[in-house]
């Protein structure tokens, strides 16, 4: 995805000048092309004009806040979003993930850590297999990286797609949240299980017939999640 496969093109939306400049500097040195915006409105504008590969989004923004920006992006686009949040364990993370963010980092963040997260998110969109599988009305085409339900294309974010692919690779086998964090998010042992829960819910909303009573992506209590093959 993106216009230039060699240099990832990022959009950084951050209101604080110093942080914006510093992160731009750091990310540029890590080999990214960076466009910046100081407000949510400017960011959305830039997004439409320049079509970046990924958005790094501060939560605390003047005007429309990061969550709202996130929701507005998700209405039309499935590009990856990484949130810059102030705290790791408060409501920000939950709301952010529910708004459709793919991952989050906590300020202050080291350039290398942010870079690693960006690359991990971008890798999720890469194709790696050439088969396809059918689960009831759901068809996962691993070569085309598309998912269709009843013949209709589903708009999945790269993270949602990767989660579905990892689950579908081991149908009927329960995967723990920590396993999924390693496989999908490439997080270390301290990955936040709320990422998995939020992504599973978003995925269910798209692939299940009745998202509140899932038949495809099942919760296995005390373990994690499992993709069931419909009988």
């Amino acid at each position: 995805m993106g216009q230039n496969d060699d240099v990832p093109f990022l959009l950084l939306i951050e209101d604080d000048d110093a942080i914006r400049t510093a992160l731009e500097l750091s990310l540029s040195r890590q080999g990214h092309r960076v466009a910046t915006a100081a407000t949510g409105e400017d960011g959305l504008q830039l997004l439409r004009e320049q079509r970046p590969d990924l958005v790094v989004l501060d939560v605390m923004l003047p005007g429309i806040d990061g969550f709202e920006v996130c929701r507005r992006i998700r209405r039309t686009d499935q590009l990856p979003i990484i949130l810059l949040t102030a705290r790791s364990d408060d409501i920000d993370v939950v709301v952010g993930l529910e708004s459709g963010a793919d991952d989050y980092v906590v300020k202050p963040v080291q350039g290398r850590v942010l870079d690693a997260r960006i690359r991990a998110v971008l890798r999720r969109g890469e194709r790696e297999a050439t088969d396809s599988a059918t689960y009831g009305s759901l068809v996962i085409d691993r070569s085309a990286m598309t998912v269709t339900k009843n013949g209709e294309d589903l708009q999945l974010t790269p993270t949602e797609l990767r989660l579905l692919l990892e689950l579908s690779r081991r149908p009927g086998q329960a995967l723990s949240r920590q396993q999924l964090l390693r496989l999908v998010w490439e997080h270390d042992y301290l990955g936040d299980s709320r990422l998995v829960d939020a992504c599973v819910q978003r995925l269910r909303a798209k692939v299940e017939d009745v998202p509140s009573s899932p038949t495809l992506i099942r919760t296995v209590r005390g373990v994690g999640y499992r993709l069931d093959v419909p009988a």
């Binding site: 604080d16 110093a18 942080i19 400049t21 510093a22 992160l23 500097l25 750091s26 040195r29 102030a86 705290r87 790791s88 364990d89 408060d90 939950v94 300020k107 202050p108 963040v109 080291q110 350039g111 290398r112 723990s176 949240r177 920590q178 270390d188 042992y189 301290l190 990955g191 936040d192 299980s193 709320r194 829960d197 599973v200 819910q201 269910r204 998202p211 509140s212 009573s213 899932p214 099942r218 919760t219 296995v220 209590r221 005390g222 373990v223 994690g224």
Partner: protein
């Protein structure tokens, strides 16, 4: 509930004391008054009866014995005695004693069945028979004597005298039963009056006790509420007595207490807010600094050798400032009660291995844990605890550090043991205090001084705890410090709210 009964009992004992004192006062007064009244009445009644009976007897003796022959027969004596007895208004029995011949006494009784000589006390007979020398002042050799006796429970008056000049001796015997009955009924009425007085005083005492104790009870209730933290408790002040004064004092005390507590919590809240805001404000420049320190770090080799150490210092100190601010923010989150658990099923052995691996401690740490112990915990917080405990052990005790994991009933017990000099006794109670440094002379460590206290807070939020102690070797000497972390194996009860939120919209499978 039991507290209420207890207070009522205590109050009733004061009530009891009041009642007893009132009753005693009333009883003493009533008994004294009744006793005096009874005594005076008794004397008056008895003296009157006695005087009239004895005067009558004396009169009769003079009149009747004058008509007796000089040497009366027994019949004479008996007849005379009967006449005396029937004539008198005083209603007594008479016994006359004469001498027919010398040394031959004869007795005449008005009613021999009722009154015989045996009923006359010997002392009285002797007094009557004694002849006194006649003087100017006392011209009679014989006097009239009387005595009160009792026969079969009935009081009697016995009187006796002898006629001058060799006349017969006469005795009268009067029952005082009627007087006794009168006095008895008087005693009864006095007794009843006393009882009524006591009962009345008890009622009065109750009323008095109630008027005193009701405000006291209200005061006690208000004091209890104040103690329970209802600082807006006030009493209604009515009247101008001592109890109203007390209520007023209570109210003003409560008011100043409330004000003081409000001041203190406001001050505490504002200082807490200050720390929270400050660390939050520090974070913005730190975020920018952190992002560019790596740029500096990468360029370090190509920098002027004079500048390179300065850059290295900026980089390392920025990291330290970062840790400090992060810890400060963590502490303010705990203080404000906004810290939350994010639970996940954690394989303890895996997590500890990952924790020491991530910090390159694998060679320095000796892990004794069986695989497969899984508990719902917050992995990030468990990592903070472990990193702080193991890091602390490595810093103060040196390697190897031994970490053992076992389960004890429904608890997970992780012990971190080093082989260093141990913790001085006076430091032990303070190891979890914030910014507590074991000794002033100890070189400033690279820790923030918050590590162990944050570890403790993280254990507490799981519903667990950490204890610090020294282990004693076989030779009785301290051979290292031991930190024991205890966490509930099932922390879901504490954090159901978090769990519910994370599993919303899912159908749990059986």
């Amino acid at each position: 509930m039991s507290k209420g009964i207890y207070t009522r009992l205590r109050f009733s004992s004061l009530r009891l004391r009041l009642v007893v004192v009132f009753a005693l006062v009333a009883l003493t007064a009533a008994v004294a008054a009744s006793g005096i009244a009874y005594w005076l009445n008794r004397e008056a009644v008895l003296t009157r009866t006695q005087d009239s009976a004895l005067n009558d007897f004396r009169q009769e003796m003079q009149n009747r014995t004058a008509t007796l022959p000089l040497r009366p027969t027994q019949d004479d004596l008996r007849r005379t005695a009967e006449q005396m007895a029937t004539n008198s208004a005083a209603n007594y029995q008479v016994l006359l004693l004469g001498e027919r011949d010398a040394g031959k006494p004869i007795v005449g009784a008005s009613d021999p069945d009722d009154f015989t000589l045996a009923d006359v006390p010997r002392s009285l007979q002797e007094a009557v028979d004694t002849k006194r020398p006649v003087t100017e002042a006392d011209p009679y050799p014989y006097h009239l004597f009387w005595q009160r006796t009792e026969r079969n429970g009935t009081p009697y008056l016995v009187g006796g005298t002898r006629i001058d000049g060799g006349g017969p001796a006469g005795y009268m015997f009067k029952s005082l039963a009627a007087e006794k009955a009168d006095l008895n009924s008087l005693a009864w009425s006095l007794g009843i009056a006393t009882a009524l007085a006591v009962a009345g005083s008890v009622l009065l005492a109750q009323v008095a006790a109630t008027t005193v104790l009701r405000p006291v009870h209200r005061l006690g209730e208000a004091a209890r509420q104040l103690g329970e933290g209802k600082l807006d408790t006030r009493l209604q002040v009515s009247g101008a007595d001592e109890l109203a004064d007390l209520s007023r004092t209570f109210n003003s005390a409560a008011e100043s207490l409330q004000k003081k507590v409000a001041d203190m919590s406001a001050r505490e809240e504002s200082s807490r807010r200050f720390v929270a805001d400050m660390s939050h404000e520090l974070r913005t420049p730190l975020t920018a600094l952190t992002a560019v320190t790596e740029v500096l770090e990468d360029e370090q080799d190509s920098l002027d050798p004079m500048i390179a150490p300065a850059v290295a210092l900026v980089v390392s100190e920025t990291r330290r400032l970062n840790d400090l601010v992060e810890n400060l923010m963590e502490v303010t989150r705990f203080d404000a009660g906004t810290a939350r658990l994010v639970l996940d099923d954690v394989d303890i052995a895996d997590q500890i291995t990952a924790c020491i691996d991530a910090r390159a401690w694998l060679d320095a740490v000796d892990l004794d844990a069986e695989r497969g112990i899984v508990a719902p915990l917050d992995p990030r917080r468990l990592d903070v605890i472990l990193a702080n405990l193991i890091g602390n052990a490595l810093k103060h005790g040196g390697s190897p550090v031994r970490v053992s994991v076992r389960t004890d009933d429904d608890e997970l017990v992780i012990a971190v043991r080093d082989h260093g000099p141990g913790i001085p006794e006076e430091v032990l109670p303070h190891v979890f205090d914030r910014f507590y440094k074991a000794s002033a002379s100890r070189p400033r460590s690279d820790g923030s001084g918050l590590g162990l206290s944050i570890a403790m807070e993280n254990a507490l939020i799981h519903g667990g705890s950490i204890t610090a102690s020294n282990s004693v070797g076989e030779d009785g000497k301290v051979d290292g410090a031991v930190f024991v972390l205890r966490l509930p194996l099932d922390a879901t009860g504490i954090t159901r709210e978090v769990q519910t939120r994370s599993s919303q919209g899912e159908v749990e499978e059986a």
